[in-house]
Symmetry: C2
Subunit: 337 residues, 2 copies
């Protein structure tokens, strides 16, 4: 038994009922002030009576804009939900957008058909997009930048482009600061579990670590590359322990990797911070729930999402905004250093 679908009221119906032209209805709907009070009242009542809602496709087509933006996450769904960082950024962006006329569409890039995302963005579905955490290999977005306004979360690896809008922390400084905390404990043999070297955050945090180590007149004891996940931190630390690597300090490029490393250290009987002093970047639930709780550099991903959305919408509305927005970070001292 197929239920009859109620026909959706159109602008024309409203116009008829209110005894005015479609143009006037359109003006009322769009808040123009060139409408007499009684005409406006008649229209508003007709709208209420007919439960009229403007058709968005028609509106988009007519005015060449959609009033919606996308948040693109070039990671698969599982990874997206496992990482508290993404959640926070989305929250921040969603909250900002909620206060505007725009809608936020979450675009998780599908493994099966990555081009689908690109087509979607290019197909005029959105007026702009926020792009999170993309790897260097992702050339797709670089080209999109000339088609519609983009704002990146975290610096991109593309160098040969102008007009790239980025909201990020100073990853080099953050890593340096986290490393200095370890050095201040008198540790001299520093290990690092770094992030993917095809991402800005991965590269920069490694650079910061190296700077701090060198500034202190030391050499890194050992550096390994992970993928920001707890599992990779755990695995790498196991390998380090197994190979009898000699270190008394550890800087993990993410709290998630730090969390995994801490587990591996505990399993092997090492005491933190007594045997190894540990710090990391990201002050998320992993940092708070590890044993011991991690000393970290906090970034504020919620705020980042908010700023990204704000910048994008301003760009869409033709305002000038700075290309680089560098957010402050904060050292959070807990028990692992």
């Amino acid at each position: 038994m197929q239920e009859p679908r109620k026909p959706q009221a159109t602008l024309e119906l409203v116009a008829e009922r209110a005894g005015v032209s479609r143009a006037t209805v359109s003006r009322v709907v769009n808040g123009s002030d060139r409408v007499k009070a009684d005409a406006r009242k008649a229209v508003e009542q007709a709208i209420r009576e007919l439960n009229y809602v403007p058709n968005r496709a028609a509106r988009s087509l007519a005015q060449g804009r959609t009033n919606s933006i996308a948040l693109v996450v070039p990671e698969n769904t599982a990874k997206f939900f496992a990482d508290p960082y993404f959640a926070k950024v989305v929250q921040g962006a969603a909250q900002y957008v909620a206060g505007t006329e725009f809608m936020l569409t979450l675009l998780l890039s599908t493994e099966s058909d990555p081009a689908k995302t690109t087509r979607y963005l290019q197909g005029g579905n959105v007026d702009g997009a926020l792009v999170l955490s993309h790897h260097a290999a992702d050339r797709s977005y670089a080209d999109l930048g000339s088609l519609l306004p983009l704002v990146y979360g975290g610096r991109t690896m593309s160098t040969n482009q102008n007009e790239i809008y980025v909201v990020d922390i100073d990853n080099i400084a953050a890593a340096r600061q986290a490393t200095e905390v370890i050095i201040a404990q008198g540790r001299t043999r520093l290990a690092m579990i770094a992030g993917p070297q095809d991402m800005g955050a991965g590269l920069d945090r490694l650079t910061g670590f190296q700077q701090a180590v060198h500034n202190a007149g030391l050499e890194p004891a050992v550096i390994r590359i992970g993928d920001f996940t707890p599992a990779s931190g755990h695995r790498i630390m196991q390998q380090l322990i197994e190979s009898k690597a000699d270190f008394d300090g550890l800087f993990a490029a993410s709290a998630q990797m730090g969390f995994g490393a801490l587990q591996a250290l505990a399993e092997a009987g090492f005491k933190v911070p007594a045997d190894v002093s540990v710090t990391a970047v990201d002050d998320d639930s992993f940092a708070r729930s590890s044993t011991p709780p991690l000393t970290t550099i906090a970034q504020f991903p919620e705020r980042q999402g908010e700023i990204m959305a704000e910048l994008l919408i301003k760009r869409i509305q033709g305002e000038q905004v700075p290309e680089w927005s560098i957010m402050d970070t904060k050292l959070v001292l807990r028990d692992s250093h």
Copy 2:
């Protein structure tokens, strides 16, 4: 320095370049077979050269459909990301949708303006919607059902409607089974931490608990209402302990509440399962990471999301589908019972 935006190629441009009519281009784009091979080839090349992507608003307007569906979560963003259940459902739905021509838009209902969601759905932005976990108070969606195809995750509380499509587990049976596990341990004084009583899952799991208790010739020892979160489970268990409630078994309506309760029990020095036998519904990360790991009834939210998406898309395409899809559950024995 405002970068010039490349003009997006239109169907008309493609037609000119390929030396055919717009209709033919449209046919090629939409995969009609009534096009000669060489015409098709010419069109395809023109499309490639111009990097043409169909404008979705225009297409929607012309054919009266959008090829996208929404996943509506009537919870705020924070709650959404904190609950592994939502994540799984989204994953399942996203995965299914990825294999179709449809796009999935995630609609987190905004605290600031709940009507925004409704307007969006009504404004012809999507061909249908998946609705998750809605409370009885949410009348908004009930009315939408007559405007566009809806598929609910978890049974709705509205009674006076026909044509309600629901994908759910048998919550009564699940709760009964979880309770019977405790009873089989010889426990006779059973407590329950129930879910919100304005949600189907909350109500039904309480009913199942009561059925099992009565079937065993017992009476419930104590029943408290939580909100499915770990914090509520923790708080309620603290109160129970404080008030010296007498029970040797506990059924929690969600693993998250079970997790919190387990913490409170441990803090008060109780041993599980020695002192209290505990089971719950939902086999999520909370169930696996609690101490001891929880014996639970597993539902399969990923599969649920998948089925929901499948049913919705079939309905949109005019197929008949059953109104009720009851998914199987599975008893997962761990160490808490």
